[in-house]
């Protein structure tokens, strides 16, 4: 087990995580559909979770695993709330394109 880990090496996990995170960021920045934005946020969160798990495995430290559970729980709750908001916005405005949602205008 450990030699496999050594074979793969932690830097690959880090690269993967960075790639995932960047994909998430780009998704948030470039997509207009609110659902897609949410999904992109989930991707970012999962990229970080992946990092957590990788580090905890390589450093023999279970704390990281626990953090992952926390962040998953928080992400789930957040998405529940976010989706509820989106549904009510859709009911009101008939769209969830974030270009149209300008209610926060100063």
């Amino acid at each position: 087990m450990s030699n496999i880990l050594n074979e793969i090496g932690i830097e690959n996990y880090i690269f993967l995580s960075v790639i995932l995170f960047s994909i998430g960021v780009c998704g948030v920045l470039y997509r207009r559909n609110a659902i897609i934005v949410f999904m992109s946020i989930e991707i970012m969160l999962n990229a970080v979770n992946l990092l957590f798990v990788a580090f905890s495995t390589y450093h023999q430290d279970p704390q990281g695993q626990i953090f992952v559970f926390f962040s998953m729980a928080v992400a789930a709750a957040e998405v529940a709330v976010g989706l509820a908001i989106l549904v009510s916005i859709f009911k009101n405005m008939g769209t969830i394109s974030i270009d149209k949602l300008k209610n926060l205008k100063g």
């Binding site: 960021v25 974030i98 270009d99 300008k102 926060l104 100063g106």
Partner: protein, 627 residues
């Protein structure tokens, strides 16, 4: 016992004030008048008690009520000092005060606010007593401010007339200028000797080694400015003639007999300070002499009966200050007393005339009144003789003393004062002839109403006329009760040491002849030739200047009021607009920034997130590079 008596003396008028102000309306006019009078009579009775005691024992009575202010080594007590000087002052303040209260019962009877009038009069008496019996300068200052306030209230008593209000304001403000001087003087004395008590001050000054005479002179000068305000000397005299806007009893009580002598009282009290400041004494003498002459010249052509008397008061006060400046304090006090008698009598007499003519004050519309108003005329005549310095009336003795002292010190001052006395005789008899002789020049309606005033008015007149006639007895040349009585107060020997030689008699003769000349000119002009002063628009030349009081008011108006107005307008129009536009400009700029910043908030979430990420990246990059 003494404490209780002194408190009774002080608080009787105050209680009268309280009662009259709260319940005076409900108990009726006459009752409130009688009550107000009684309180002052009570004070007078107590004063008499003290006077007989002090006159017998020659000992001052010190009364300590409580410690008032105590800061490290500086201590002021609230206490009274009843000595020869203060009791003498109390005698004529409460005595003449009682008479004038009595007079007011009748004089003010048609006024709807009579109870208020009596309340103010009582309050005035209370403050005047405070001023006189305080044992230190701070208590004096309380009284000083209090009488100023009452003076304001009473000058503006008929407040429905805006001119009267202006006169009241003028009196108040001019007095404030003087009060500032007095306060500064008190502060300087307090900081020099860390006490304000008269006796301690005297002890400190006489016991001081290497005294700072310069500072002391400044203090004396500041105190003199205070006295100038209250006692209407140049340059702060213009309020007193205007103060005639008040009811006549007020003019008699406050602006002739009592309050305007407060400055003289204060200087006499602090004679040991002024004795050490000869320069200030010279200033006082010069100011007094000049004031007496200037005021006398103005009085020559005034047509308002009360204005003449007002300028005459200023002139007489000037003579008193001349005596003070020459160090002849007891002479000044003597003149204060005699002047209080005859000037109060003259004012009350003029009030009686005004009363009979229903408010007419212009002498051009009077004349021949002696036919109807015998008592008023006779008392007026006696007082006029007294003020003109005709023997054996009181004014002759006191004025003569002043002239004599002036002659000893300085011939120029003597000449000025003599000239002022001559003019005094002239304008007083001009007033007398215009008012009481020849034919009546008023309207028929007034003529039918002419009557002698009621007994309440004539009684005080008679009493005061008697006093004006015999008042000189208290200080006869070579046999002066007053000088002996006041002697313990003064460090210097009294001026009565000079024997009576030809010089003194010739001076007396000159003074009397001067008075008679003045009377003679008035006699020929106004009685023989029956001249009447021109109406306002026909006055020309020098008379016009005099009639307009040398344009002093206008000059003050131009120099102080106009310039300050100009300055304030400049500040309002230029400086303030500049400041406020700066302030408002700041606000505008902030607003503009906000308005521009608002546009950043487009509400586009995408943009927000983009910027957010950008910022985060920047921070991360920075942290990364910083390593």
């Amino acid at each position: 016992m003494d404490t209780n008596l002194a408190l009774l003396l002080l608080l009787a008028p105050f209680l009268g004030f309280l009662f009259n102000i709260f319940f005076g309306k409900s108990i009726g006019k006459t009752a409130s008048g009688i009550l107000g009078t009684l309180t002052v009579v009570l004070s007078f009775a107590v004063t008499l008690c003290f006077f007989t005691r002090i006159n017998a024992s020659q000992e001052a009575i010190q009364i300590q009520l409580f410690d008032w202010i105590q800061i490290s080594n500086f201590k002021v007590d609230f206490g009274f000092l009843l000595d020869q000087l203060s009791v003498l002052w109390l005698l004529f303040v409460t005595g003449i005060g009682s008479l004038i209260h009595l007079y007011s019962i009748s004089y003010m009877h048609d006024d709807e606010n009579m109870h208020k009038f009596f309340a103010y009069l009582n309050l005035f008496i209370f403050f005047m007593i405070t001023l006189v019996i305080g044992s230190n300068l701070l208590v004096l200052f309380i009284g000083w401010e209090g009488v100023g306030l009452c003076s304001y209230l009473l000058i503006g008593f008929w407040h429905k007339n805006q001119d009267f209000n202006d006169a009241a304001k003028k009196a108040f403000i001019m007095n404030r200028i003087g009060d500032l001087g007095l306060l500064i003087g008190i502060f300087i004395l307090g900081s020099m000797f860390s006490t304000l008590d008269y006796n301690s001050l005297q002890a400190a000054i006489s016991g001081a080694t290497n005294l700072d005479v310069t500072t002391l002179s400044i203090a004396a000068f500041c105190l003199f400015i205070g006295a100038c305000g209250k006692s209407a000397q140049i340059p702060l005299y213009t309020w007193l003639p205007d103060a005639m806007a008040g009811p006549t009893p007020v003019s008699a009580l406050i602006h002739a007999a009592t309050m305007v002598t407060a400055g003289i009282f204060m200087i006499t009290r602090l004679n040991y300070v002024f004795d050490l400041a000869p320069d200030v004494q010279n200033i006082i003498a010069i100011v007094g002499a000049v004031t007496s002459l200037v005021a006398a010249t103005i009085a020559l052509v005034q047509t308002d009966i009360k204005k003449v008397l007002a300028y005459s008061t200023v002139s007489q006060l000037g003579l008193m200050f001349l005596a003070l400046g020459l160090g002849a304090y007891e002479v000044a006090v003597f003149h204060v007393i005699t002047h209080a008698f005859f000037k109060a009598c003259l004012f009350l007499g003029s009030g009686s005339v005004i009363h009979a003519l229903h408010g007419e004050q212009d002498m051009r519309n009077m004349g021949g009144l002696k036919k109807w108003m015998g008592v008023t005329f006779f008392t007026f005549l006696i007082s006029s003789l007294a003020i003109s310095g005709i023997p054996p009336f009181s004014g002759f003795f006191s004025k003569d003393e002043i002239l004599m002292v002036a002659f000893e010190h300085n011939k120029v001052l003597w000449f000025i004062a003599s000239l002022a006395s001559l003019l005094t005789a002239f304008y007083m008899f001009r007033l007398l002839y215009l008012t009481f002789f020849n034919d009546f020049r008023g309207t028929e309606k007034q003529k039918n109403h002419l009557h002698e005033s009621p007994a309440l008015i004539t009684f005080p007149l008679i009493v005061l006329a008697i006093l004006a006639a015999v008042g000189g007895l208290i200080s006869l040349p070579t046999n002066s009760w007053l000088n002996g009585y006041l002697a313990p107060l003064f460090s210097k020997e009294a001026h009565e040491t000079h024997h009576f030689g030809t010089q003194e008699y010739s001076l007396m003769a000159i003074a009397v002849v001067g008075g008679l000349v003045g009377i003679g000119i008035a006699f020929s002009k106004y009685l023989k030739q029956k001249q009447v002063p021109e109406s306002d628009e026909n006055i020309t030349g020098i008379a016009k200047t005099l009639y307009n009081k040398y344009y002093v008011d206008e000059a003050y108006d131009f120099v102080f009021v106009k310039s300050i107005n100009g300055l304030s307008n400049f500040f309002r129009d230029q400086v303030e607009t500049g400041l406020s536009s700066a302030v408002l400009g700041l606000g505008k700029i902030t607003n503009e920034i906000g308005y521009q910043g608002k546009k950043v908030q487009s509400g586009s979430i995408g943009l927000y997130v983009f910027i957010f990420v950008l910022g985060l990246s920047a921070i991360l990059t920075f942290l990364f590079l910083a390593q």
